[in-house]
Each structure stands twice: as structure tokens, then as C-alpha cells.
Amino acid sequence: MAWRSALAARRRWPAGPLVPGLLGIAVLLAAGALWQPYDPAAIDLGARHLGTSLAHPFGTDQLGRDMLSRTMVGGGYTLAVVATVALVSVALGTAVGLGAAVCDGLARAALLRAADFAIVMPSLVVALAITGLFGLTPLTAGLALGLGGWGPYALLTHALARRAMAQPYVRAAQALGVGSPGILLRHVVPAATPAVLTYLAADAGRTVVAYAALAFIGLGADTSRPDWGAMLYEYRAFIFDAPMLMIWPGLAVTLTALALHLLIEPDADRLAGLRRMATDTALAQATGPGGSPPPRAADKPLTGARPWR
């Protein structure tokens, strides 16, 4: 009962009780894609800069727009981005990783090098260039971030697939004449899925922040569209008169990202182990067997974890 022990680990962890609450917030924000208490774009100049009240729990902004509604819509956009990034990077990464596990020699080296390159590439610049050229929508941002983020998935899938394919029962299946597609679908994919999902959850938290950063820097961003980052960019001008305006969207980004990070925090050490294994396997491919140096945790970190600052 793996999930039961995982659940128990979550309960033992000191911040565990926070997680359902944080997740509740995240779900509420994501629900904003479907429904908001007010029209988020409705301007009401008679109701500018209202404080917190029952009618407007988050108050209103300089144009009298309801902040709660705007924040909720931003949640919907963020959810769309996270979903797109997950789809793109997992699809691309696992395809390359499985390909590298099945292929030999030059093809494998080339695929792993490509993954290395995708990890080293400055994701901020790539994302800025793509969204600057095609405009910033949840879809383009998702594609840009996904294209910048598939590398770790490839290394991870490659390592897990290699490990699974070395198992005696998989070898037996191969000896019985099961082809590569059968081996991959029946044995390798199920073995790799939990780790990939764990990494995905960590990635989702980073994506929330990265998308907000893209919208904040604001290349081709539409300030009338209430993205959390774009809202912060707009409201930062009111830092002297109405600082609460920049509190709400920032809090939304932080709590959502924090919920996702805390969700996987009990697995953090396992995740670090997975990373090390993924890079070690790729490194072993590059250097060949034998003469392995002493263990170095940080020799080749999967640097998708770098925050944008």
C-alpha cells in the first residue's frame, strides 16, 4: 500500500495540516476560470480603491474593478498554463527519454546531449523571446515554458527506463520475444510514472511563478487581462497609496506555488535522489563504465530548479 504510507508520511510532516487548506485555496482560484462574483473587467469609477468589505472581500482597484474577481480569473489562466506546460514537457521529455533508453550508441548520445542542452539553455531568455514574438497568452507561455523545461523529464525517464529494462523479469519478457513497444508500455512506463508525476508536481509550482514573472516583465502582455503577474506590474505604481493592491495577486501566486511545493515536500529527499540518479545515468553514458569519481550531489544538477530573479 504505497499510497497509504505516503499519506502517513504527509500526516507526520509538521506542515502537513496546512496542505489541504492551501490546496483549497488553489482549487478556489482555479475555479475562477468558470465563475467570478463580478465581471472582472467592469469599471466602476464610483467605487475606486475600496477597502475590504463583504461586497468586495479583496477591495477594488484604481478603476473600481473587483479584486477578488480579477484574482480568480488570473487563477484560471494560471491553471491553463500549468496544464499546457505539463503536457508539452512531459510528452516531449518522456518521448526523448524513452527513445534514448531504447536506442544505442550515437542516437542515444545525441538525445541525451539534446536534453542536456535544453537544461542548460537559459529558459528565461527562451521564454521571453517566444512570448515576445508571438504575444503572451496562456497558450504561448505554456509552450515556451514547456519547450524550456522538458530536459529533466528526458534524463529522468531515461534513467528509470534503463533501470527497469535491467530487471530480470523485463529481460525474461524480452527473451520471450516481446518487442520494444510492448516492453515500454507494459513494464517501463508503469515503473517510471510515479517519479515523473512527483517531478511534475514540483515543476507545476515553478511554472506558476515563472508564468507570473513572464506576465510581470510584460512583453506583449495585455494589462487588461488579469494575469497575476500583469496585475502586479500594473499595481506596483500604487505602492505608496494602495499597497494592498499588490498584496492580493502576489499572495495568490505564492500560496498556489507553496501548496504545490508543500504537497511534494515529504518526497523532497526522494526527488533529490531521483535527480542524482538521472544525472549519474546520463553521465555514465557519456563517460563509459569504470573509474567512477566519488559521489557528488551537485556535479550536474538538474537545473530546472533555478528560480527566476
Binding site: 514574438l133 503577474g229 502576489g250 505564492t254 544538477p301 533555478r306
Partner: protein, 309 residues
């Protein structure tokens, strides 16, 4: 000596690859740079004007000729004119580089200095205060967007307490907050790396030997573990240093610092391709430099190995 030649050859290869990528920028973009130039200059976009610009810039020559011509001019320092500012791209970069360099490397150096004692105490006492603090800092750096925490710092220190005048004060007032912010976002991760490296050392047999000779854990970690952990720290710092100059767009936008990253952001917004080309080449050269320095430093720390890539 042989390894030095190898390193140089590798650097040259990487630089060449980067130049191909930078060259591809112009030709891979969806819009014609000549048309963008004409629009930026408020001149009519006629086929004759576009053709004249193409001839002037050599864009109608065969690709290979164009590449050789472009690379040749690049080497002698003619990086073209920026559309937006009508100044030579190289001069624009050189003018902005010192500020970006100062906040980036200064912030990282500060983070590394703080990370060493934090990681040391975290390894000495697992689940102690230092361990928890570094863990929390690492999670928060992932979850709290830098632009938001930057704005909050600005609000507290400059608006509420009035300790700093980040926009009107002297250079110290301008640079303190961004440097602190960059340090804050790196210190947790670096401390975790240092701690993990020390723990790997503690798992080695020679750590037990050190304890058996009568050293306390603190002394053993300090005398024998430090070198091991510093190696890992240098390895983890390498991509960070490669990134931090020119990769701090969020910080520069928040604090209105006229650095390289903000210049790049503004240039991408108006599709100033020549600036993007120059940026790619400058970043590639800087990363190769950092990498070389890191290899040298790691060889000094551990003469047994020559680190791979």
C-alpha cells in the same frame, strides 16, 4: 597542458555553436527585420525600401557568405546598431554590464558566504534550526516570486521605514536591495547543496576514522569535510554564476536598474534582433569563461579528477 588545449578546443566549439544559434535568430524569426526596422523608424514599408535595406545589410547574399561576413564583423567588435537606440550594440552592452555584473556576482558571493556556515550547522544537527531555516529558504525561493518579494521589501524599507531611497538615492541606495534579493534567492539552495555534500562525506569511512582519532564532528567536518563540500558548492555555483549576469531581468525590472537584462527585455519587445544576437554571443562567452574558472578551481580543490563537462 594537453587538458588546457582540450578545454580551449571545447570552448571554441561551444562558441561556434552559439554563433550558429545567434545567426539563426535573424533568419528563423517570423518577421522580416527590415520591415520591423522601417516600422520602428516610422518610415513607409515599401518593397524598394525593404530591398535597399536587405542589400545594405547583405541579407540577399547566400547564407554562407552572410555568416562569414557577420562572424568576421562580430570578431572585430562591430555588432551592428540597435534599432531602438541607434547606438552600437557593443557600446550599449558595455555601458550596462558593470551594474548587472555588480548586483549579480555580488549577490551570489554574499549567498555563498552565508550558505557555508548555514550548511555546516545544518549538517551538524539534522532537523535543527539551521537545517529547517535553509530548507524553508529553499522552498520559499521556489514559491515566492522574486518580483513580489522585491516589491514587498521596497514597500517596507523604502515606503514604510524610509531607510532607503532606491530610485533617488546614490548608487549604494540603488544597489543594496537588488543585491540582497539575489542573495536571498540563492542562499537556501546553496546551503542545501553544502549540507548534502557534508552528509555524503559523513557517510564515507574516513569520516569515522577522523572521529576515531578523537576529532569532534564539528572539527572533522571543518578539517576534512570542508574541501569535499566546497567542491560541490563550486560545482553548484558554476551555472549560477553563468546565469546571474544578464539573467536577472525580474530584479532589474522591479528596481528599475539600467542593466543588461532590462536592455534585453526592452529590445525583445521591439524585436531588436541585433541586440538579441549580441546578447547570445556575450552570454555564451561569459558562460565559457565561468566554466573554465570553475574547472580550474575544482582541479585545485581535488587534483584527483578532471571533471567531465
Amino acid at each position: 597542458m594537453r587538458s588546457l588545449v582540450q578545454e580551449c578546443a571545447r570552448a571554441a566549439l561551444l562558441l561556434w555553436l552559439a554563433s550558429l544559434a545567434a545567426f539563426a535568430v535573424i533568419h528563423g524569426m517570423p518577421a522580416d527585420p527590415a520591415e520591423i526596422f522601417l516600422v520602428q523608424m516610422n518610415r513607409p514599408v515599401t518593397p524598394e525600401a525593404v530591398a535597399r535595406l536587405h542589400a545594405e545589410w547583405g541579407l540577399d547574399a547566400p547564407l554562407f557568405v552572410q555568416y562569414v561576413d557577420w562572424a568576421g564583423r562580430f570578431v572585430i567588435g562591430d555588432w551592428g546598431l540597435s534599432f531602438r537606440t541607434a547606438q552600437p550594440v557593443l557600446d550599449e552592452f558595455l555601458r550596462r554590464l558593470p551594474v548587472s555584473f555588480l548586483i549579480g556576482t555580488g549577490g551570489l558571493a554574499l549567498a555563498a558566504l552565508l550558505a557555508i556556515p548555514l550548511g555546516h550547522h545544518a549538517a551538524l544537527r539534522p532537523h535543527g534550526i539551521a537545517d529547517r531555516a535553509s530548507r524553508a529558504l529553499a522552498i520559499l525561493a521556489q514559491a515566492v516570486p522574486a518580483f513580489w518579494s522585491g516589491l514587498i521589501l521596497l514597500w517596507i524599507l523604502a515606503v514604510e521605514l524610509r531607510w532607503l531611497r532606491p530610485f533617488t538615492g546614490g548608487s549604494a541606495h540603488q544597489l543594496i536591495l537588488p543585491t540582497l534579493l539575489i542573495a536571498l534567492y540563492s542562499v537556501g539552495t546553496l546551503a542545501r547543496v553544502y549540507r548534502t555534500e557534508l552528509q555524503l562525506y559523513q557517510a564515507q569511512p574516513y569520516y569515522r576514522t577522523a572521529l576515531a582519532t578523537g576529532l569532534t564532528p564539528r572539527e572533522a567536518l571543518h578539517r576534512h569535510g570542508r574541501r569535499h563540500a566546497l567542491f560541490g558548492l563550486v560545482a553548484a555555483l558554476t551555472p549560477e554564476f553563468g546565469w546571474v549576469v544578464g539573467g536577472t531581468a525580474v530584479t532589474e525590472v522591479v528596481f528599475g536598474i539600467p542593466g543588461v537584462s532590462q536592455f534585453l527585455v526592452d529590445s525583445i519587445a521591439v524585436r531588436d534582433y541585433w541586440v538579441l544576437q549580441g546578447y547570445i554571443m556575450a552570454m555564451a562567452a561569459w558562460m565559457i569563461l565561468v566554466h573554465g574558472a570553475s574547472v580550474g578551481l575544482r582541479r585545485a580543490l581535488d587534483p584527483r579528477i578532471c571533471p567531465e563537462a
